[in-house]
Structures are given as C-alpha cells and as structure tokens.
Amino acid sequence: MRDGNRTRWTTRGTRPRFPGPAATAVLTALMLCVPSILSGEAKVTAIKGGDIYTITSGIVRNGTVLVKDGKILRIGQGIDIPKDANVVDVRGKVVMPGLVAAATMFMPAAGSGSDKIADSLDPFNYSLSMALASGVTSIFAAGRGGPGGGPTAVIKPTYGDLEHMLLKEPAAENINVAGYQWMERTNFILKMRQAKDYLRKLAEYEKAKAKNEKLEAPRKPPDIDACLRLLRREMPGRLRAARAGEILKALELVNEFPFRLVIEGGTEAWTVADAIAARDVAVIVTPRVKQRPDEDISQPSGSNVENAAILKRAGVKFAILPATPYFSTGGFVGRDLMTLPMDAAAAVSGGLDEQTALEAITITAARILGVDDRVGSLQEGKDADIIVLGGHPFHYDTFVEMTFVDGKLMYEKNKSIYFSHIRRYDDKVPGLPSDARRGDPDALPPRELQRGANP
C-alpha cells in the first residue's frame, strides 16, 4: 500500500508522543479554521489538462474536471479554477469515469451467510486495493455461490472506509434457473405464478376499494417477496446462461413474467441476438471466452469474437466482463478485472465500435446495475469516481495512473507496489545506461557490457 515502507518490520519508527505545547498551539489554530471548512467552503479539486472521455457527451480535449464534496462540479475547456483549489496536472493523459464491473467472483465481505452484505462489508479486503489499481470503482457483488442465492450489492472500493463503501443494496435478484436446475426452475416458476396472481388480486382489491365495493384483501403467499420485486420491475433478475439453449430457456421466463432480465455469460448470444433484442433483456458478455462449436448441430454455435458486435447490430444492451471476474496479481493475469479494458478491446477487434465498447465497461454496466444515476460517466452532479490513464484505454501499454473515488485520490501508480516490477522500455533503470536502453547508437554501453570486451 502507500504506507508499505512503514509496515516493514525492519523499519523502526518512533512512537507517537503527546503533542507538546507548541504543537498544541498549532492544533488550536487549525481547529479555529475548521468552522470555515464546515460552512460549505470545501476545497475544490481540479483535474487539469487531460483528454476527458465523458462517455455520454463526447471527448473534451485538454479540459478540466472540477470536483467538490465528492461530486463532479464542472467539466470543460478553459474553466476558471478557484485559487485555493487542489490542482492535479494530468496534461497529455486520458481522464475517464471509473470502470464498472458488472459482476465479480470475489466477495468484499468478512462473513458469509449474511442476509445483508452491508452487515459484513470488509473495507480492508485486498481485492479493493487491486480494484483501485485497475481503475474499477463500482463492483457488483453477490453472496456466496454467485447466481442462485445470497444477497447482492454494488460497492465502491473505498479502501479502509466502511462508511462510503456501499453504493446500492440490494442490486438484483439472483435466479439460477437456465441450466439443468429443473427443480429450482419449477419452484421459481410456481412462485412467480403465485406472485403474479397475488398482484392481479391486489390490483382488483385496490380498484374495488376505490369504488367503495366490499372485497376481501388477498392473502400474500409466503416467500414471494423476491418475485414481487421482479414483477414490479424494482429489481432485475440475473442468471447465468452461455449456450443458445440456455439463453432461449431464460427468454421463455420473460415471455411469461415481464421482469428485467440480465443474462451473465452469453457466449452463444450472437446466435440468438434477434430473440434477445425482441425483449428488454441485457447481457453481460465475456468476449475472450473460448467455447468450441457443437459439431452435432448444423446451426452456428460456440464462441465468436464478433459476439458483442453482432449484439450491438441487433440492438441488445450489453456490458463487458473478463472471463475470470476477480482481481489477482497471479493466476490468469490479463483475463481478470485487473485488465478490464482489454476485454472491451477484444470486442473492438471483433468489429464493435470503440464508443460502445467504452460504454460497455462504464455507463451500460452502470445501467444494468441500476446505478447510472451516480456513476458510469463524467457528468456534472455525478459521483467523482474518476480515473487517469497514461494513454488510450484500449492500448495494451496503458496503465491506470490515478484513481479518485468520491473525489478522493485513492491510488497513484508511482506510489503503489502493484506494478512497480514492470518498467517501460525507456524507463531509467538503476545500474543500466538509459541512453543505451533507448537505442541511441551514439551512447555506447559501459565497457564491461560491450560484446567481446576483455575484462
């Protein structure tokens, strides 16, 4: 972390002492200043000079983002920056909204078996600090087992800060009924029918009540609260479906019960894009997943790099997610949330336009999670979840250099340990002649490094 040096056991620090009289005087002076801060004169942060990818309203070249109280105050070129503002110079860099991970496999919670994620949020989870390093500032988290059970929430990686961590709970209903779970599917459909029936009777009762007719209030069947939230379209229902058959099975549910469906996976969604587009269904695609075609059938099947592009042409709303949606510095590096833009770039290589690909990891993902009123794009009034990149988000050489969450600078690449082992070709490496590394023919390496040099 940023205080990595302090936590090494070889480093001896000094014990904090009670402040002496001089320090107390300074403290008192500082405390006198507090009222002016509390009276609404919070300091403004200006992120100045970058190319601002607002996502929803184009790119502002060499612009400035003003941030106050954790919200975006203004965006544009040539904005007046208040004199006492905290100016962050990001000339030549890319400024964009923090990325939105439409799903994760990690659980940012200390306990398990909770009914509410808020009861067990762990602000010291290491995945959160890695999320900051990856530029991911909103994460959908589901209780143990992923779809099929447990609570759901959207959280922010406010490392060390429990208070501002929860963005939304609950965020979706998990329904795991598109695969071979025939028993669960039957139960789910029965529950949904009960709920639908109850809503119909409730509407009749309300109507009768309005006309002062006598009608008995309907009795609510047990355990149908989740179904009611789905049918009232308060919550989307999420399920995993990769094969075309699974997707069509999921769509059948929407035919009978008009709820907002989110399909996770969707590897073969491109084969049934029209059927998906005909309904209000969103898909979370993983462009880099590989799936062999089924050779027993003549219809198209298997994964397709053009999946996202075909869905776009059909008019389907989709977010993009890596194949292994968690954060790690080992294992499948490059296919997890540490490199979310690379998955969007893979969709671009399959014919998707850049703008839609960017939206799929920001605003569209936020819409699918129901948090687009607060995150997912750079707009005045929205949460100041902002990332600063070294270059274009889809370039393989681009790193996240800064991450702001709620206007607070939470991550700086050059102060972090996560990528300190990776150096650019032209970085000055101690012990190596930098000019020679740049390929300057005039700058010869030191004698001992020259080929054939006689020691």
Partner: protein, 397 residues
C-alpha cells in the same frame, strides 16, 4: 520430545518430590510458625529470595535485592529488606527473578469441540468443566506460566472463561477467578450481529436476573468482569465497535489477528486493550512481513501477547516468539509487559498479578538469564509462595 519419556518421568518425579516437600511439616516450617504474629492463628510461611537481579517489570530492575514473601503475598521487595531469622532463604545468586508469565487467552486442557452456529451461551462456564489432572498443565508450568485465562470455544457469546493457576490437584486449588470473563467469538455478519445485539439488550439497565445467561451478561455490562471479543479481521472489529457504540461500563478487550494495525488509531482513541498473537506474518499477496504487535504498540495500543499457536508447544515456545518480536523492532520493555502486567490488566487482575510489587501474589520465575534470552532456562517457578517447579537439570558449565 515424544521420545524423551525418561526425561518426562524424571520431571514428573521431581515435581512430585517438590510438592511433597511443601506438604510435609518440616522443622523449619514449624519454627517459621513461631515468627508469625498473625492474629488468625494460621501458620504463615516466610520466604526470602535473594537475587542479583530482580526485574519487577513495573518498577524497573533491582540489583542485589531481596523479595520477602509472607504466606502467598510479597510483603517486602527492595535492596534494604530485613530478613527475619525464621525465614527460609532461597539464594538465587546471580540469577534473575521475573514475574510469572500470564496468558490471557488459552484453551489448554479443555475439550476443543466447537459448538456450531452463532448462539448466546453466557451461562456456560469453563470453571465447571475444568479437569485438574492433565499433564499439559505441568508443561505449561515448566514454560513459566503461572496464570492462564481459559476460554470456552464457540461462535457468538461462547460463555464465561476462568482464570486459573496451572498447578493444584482440585478445581478449587486451580481457580483464581471462577467467572473471569465473558468470551465472544465475533465475525461480521447479520446473524451474528443479531445474537450479540439480543444478548446485550437482554441485560441492559438490569441489576439482577434469574436467567443465568442474562445474569452473566449483566456482570459484563457493569464491568465486573471483562468482555473478551475475538475478531479475526479488522473489518470484524469495526463492525463490532459500531455494534458496541454505547457500551457503558463494559470492559472490552479485543483478541485480534493479522492486519490489526490498520485500525490502530481507533483502538487508541477508544482505549481498548488488545490481545495479539506473538507472530510475524506476511502481508497478504506481498513479501512484506508485518510485526503486528510492534506496529500496534508503536501506535499506542496496549498489547497482551499470546503464543502463535494455542497448544502446549506454543506456550513452551512463547519466550522465543517474544524475543523474535523484539529482534524485529518491538521495544523490549513493552515485550516484557506484554507477557506479564498487560495480560493481567486485561483480565482485571493487575491488583494481584503481573509484576513483582509489594502486596501482590508471589508468582515468580527464577531464571539463569534474561527472560527474552533464548539460552535462558527457567530454574524455579513459584506460585503464591510455593515452589511448584524446579529445573532438575544442572546447566552444563
């Protein structure tokens, strides 16, 4: 260790002999009886320990001092102590006298069976299931521990712990405090929070109760016994502290694990003492090692250390683990306190345990070197004026 059965037999034999020595009415004890002017009429033994070095822990080191023990308590300590003629003299010579070690949290000798699910069992008492005839207690004694806090296992409010001396042949002889603490194993989740919330609410604003669960919680809320809460991760701790925002007179002690230094500021602010394993762990996903007790102590948290592992081997290795912490940055004096007076304070028994002071229990160790020195051997262990262990092996010259 297992193959050394002959050694173990000998050790057991020696300890038996030393016990025998105290139970036999010897002539010098009879003469000591004449010296006591106590009104109670019971004979009071007087023992004087002379040593080159007496580490009191709380009041510095006394060179060439004497500890005078009357009965079970230290009656005088210092350099100018008049030794009564009837006193039995233990000349420790060039050796060091150090207070007996205190382990605030342990489950040595208890059934390790975990009861499932978060639940409230405040009525459950370790004191009722204590079984004295276990060889582990002898090994604990040989490791220099004169006081143990024994806690029941189980999620939620697991029950009442007991404070014991690891010596004695009956429950009564072993128990220092029958109901020494309330032991809670906490983790941040909804069901657990409900259990704790209900247990607290049942005892709130009450003086007495017929329900033994509630009665125990009342004692905890009134601060008559400390409340020990184990939290594995810092997230658990902040959820707990949010839950216990209005904890009134409750004496909260947190039993913490890795990464606790992340919340050190809050622990200092709320003045919560901490029990922490004496271990140096890797920071997750890095090669950085964290001396957790050191970081907490530097931040200003009062730490009581327990061994890395809860078994007897852990207790036997405890002094070396503490030495490793000191080698890697922990202040030596803090380390000494973290083995003695701080755990005694956490247990609420610092008025009688944890240091060598006038009026306190005569629980002490005679060592042939510094307590943190790896080559030091424990030569004698005394609990309340009685030698309960003597090293049968002469150190080779």
């Amino acid at each position: 260790m297992r193959g050394n059965s002959r050694k173990m037999v000998l050790l057991a034999w020696v300890s038996f002999l030393s016990t025998l020595a105290w139970t036999c009415p010897l002539g010098r004890q009879a003469s000591a009886r004449a010296d006591t002017s106590g009104t109670s009429g019971t004979p009071e033994r007087v023992v004087a320990i002379k040593a080159d070095r007496i580490d009191t822990v709380t009041n510095g080191v006394i060179q060439n001092g004497v500890i005078l023990i009357r009965g079970t308590k230290i009656s005088e300590i210092g350099t100018n102590v008049a030794i009564p003629g009837t006193a039995e003299i233990i000349d420790a010579g060039k050796q060091t006298v150090f207070p007996g070690l205190v382990s605030p949290v342990s489950d040595i000798g208890l059934s390790s069976a975990q009861r499932g699910g978060p639940a409230s069992h405040a009525r459950y008492r370790v004191a009722d299931v204590l079984y004295p005839y276990q060889h582990e207690y002898q090994r604990v004694l040989q490791a220099g521990f004169t006081t143990l806090g024994l806690v029941p296992r189980g999620q939620g409010v697991a029950g009442q712990g007991a404070v014991i001396r690891p010596a004695g042949r009956s429950r009564e002889e072993m128990l220092v405090a029958e109901s020494g603490m309330i032991w809670i194993e906490f983790r941040a989740d909804g069901r657990m929070k409900d259990v704790i919330r209900k247990a607290l609410e049942s005892a709130k604003n009450k003086e007495t109760s017929d329900d033994p669960d509630v009665a125990a919680m009342i004692r905890a809320l009134q601060g008559k016994i400390p409340t020990f809460v184990s939290c594995a991760r810092p997230a658990d701790t902040i959820h707990l502290l949010d839950l216990l925002k209005e904890r009134d007179k409750m004496k909260l002690v947190l039993v913490l694990g890795i990464e606790s230094h992340r919340i050190a500021e809050r622990l200092v602010k709320e003045k919560i003492p901490v029990v922490i394993p004496a271990s140096i762990e890797f920071e997750l996903f890095t090669l950085t090692r964290i001396n957790e007790p050191d970081l907490l102590a530097r931040a200003g948290v009062q730490i009581a250390c327990v061994p890395e592992s809860a078994d007897v081997e852990g207790l036997e290795d405890f002094r070396r683990q503490m030495a490793a912490l000191v080698k890697c940055g922990l202040d030596g004096q803090t380390a000494r306190k973290a083995m003695t007076i701080y755990p005694a304070e956490a247990l609420g028994l610092d008025y009688r345990l944890g240091s060598l002071e006038k009026g306190k229990d005569a629980n002490l160790l005679v060592l042939d070197g510094d307590v943190l020195d790896a080559t030091t051997t424990i030569q004698k262990v005394m609990i309340e004026g009685k030698i309960v262990y003597e090293n049968p092996w002469e150190k080779s010259q």
